[in-house]
Symmetry: C2
Subunit: 236 residues, 2 copies
């Protein structure tokens, strides 16, 4: 069997109705394209969702960081490259590079950490046991992803409650859970849209700790840096 | 100059993260793909948003009906064909056909009505005056779109208020207005997700009368047919 390259490279297109009023791809949509690229990469290499389903396992995104140089404009075609940087028993690191077709422009980088669960018990599973540790054949430690690692999210007392989110049909993904990037949309929605006209997003980082489900309620909290913007719902 | 065919045909792909728990493309995403196809078609033929912007005009979607035979599954590639059925001074009808690559399976049809406005005055403009009535060269009255026409939406006293919608950043499109298909998402979200497991959507129809804007509030009302499901928010 021919071995696929370690790095998967997929072409995407900034559909105009996925762009915001800056004429640039929205972060949530870029995130969604990245997750799709991750799925294509793992699927082609026989450790994707579709194979895992047959053995009652699933990937769970644990942390995700995106750093934006410049967002693709409407109608821009671009590549998303993705590869596995490391794989341990309970976590694997997957990186992303988003660049123009001619390779001259880098739009964004991404880093992510994934765990694997048993879909019946929801318990963590040993990633290296799947397909005799097949994932280890595809590790690339060399290809650069020059952004800061995902970090711990600090939750303490100076967080202020902004808004509640009640997951609904359009929030849910193929597994019936809230789509990982929908959280990103809900978080970005805390700020007035004008924010994104004035201040292009530089880095977005998220840690997934528990799943929000339909019928449940997720609290959106905010800590504002001095001089930072405040969620609209806390004003007045 | 070579004339393009009247019917535009564009290939799309049901990205897994655009699918719901039925493993099928979500209606809102299909609607978004259809609007993108409409944009590609009109753009290639020199009466698209990008050209209109230069003369301070824009298309405004007025009515939109989709009828679903069967939704594309995750990873399915499909074509969206779109064409102009008629063009009058203040309205143009645009149809859609969504089918499998081999043409054997029809996934959906769509009908839509569009107006053109001046982006400064927001007043309706004569569509036939744009580029010397260029749009008339592309009218195809013959290609079948065998679904019922868009109809009038009847608003009367037996409508019950379900929910309020406060447009936010992720709802807004390239023009800074609420994305046309985001209304569809918000309307589908009135029903518990389980509804879509039990009852595949057959037809969705929407009339756009006024734009919801960030900072504003749109009311979501419901009339329930005998035996029909009720919005969750009205229960208990």
């Amino acid at each position: 069997m021919e071995t696929l390259p370690k790095i998967g490279k997929y072409e995407f297109f900034a559909m105009p109705f996925h762009c915001d009023f800056n004429n640039r791809l929205m972060l949530g949509h870029l995130g969604n394209y990245m997750l799709n690229a991750a799925d294509f990469h793992s699927r082609d290499r026989k450790f994707g969702f579709d194979y895992l389903t047959t053995i009652h396992r699933a990937w769970v995104l644990s942390r995700f960081a995106m750093e934006i140089e410049k967002m693709p404009k409407a109608y821009d075609k671009f590549y998303i490259e993705t590869w596995v940087e490391s794989a341990m028993r309970y976590f694997t690191k997957r990186n992303f590079k988003v660049s123009s077709l001619d390779g001259k422009e880098v739009y964004a980088y991404g880093k992510s950490i994934w765990a694997m669960i048993d879909t019946r018990s929801r318990q963590p599973q040993n990633i290296l046991e799947v397909n005799d540790g097949l994932i280890s054949d595809y590790i690339d430690k060399e290809y650069p992803c020059p952004i800061a690692d995902v970090s711990r999210v600090i939750i303490n007392d100076d967080l202020q409650k902004c808004r509640s989110m009640h997951p609904k049909y359009s929030d849910l993904d193929i597994n019936g859970h809230v789509n990982s990037v929908k959280y990103i949309d809900h978080i970005l929605d805390l700020m007035p849209a004008q924010t994104y006209k004035e201040t292009p997003l530089k880095r977005f980082e998220i840690a997934y700790v528990a799943e929000a489900r339909e019928g449940g309620c997720a609290q959106l909290l905010q800590r504002r840096d001095p001089g930072g913007r405040e969620c609209e719902d806390n004003k007045g």
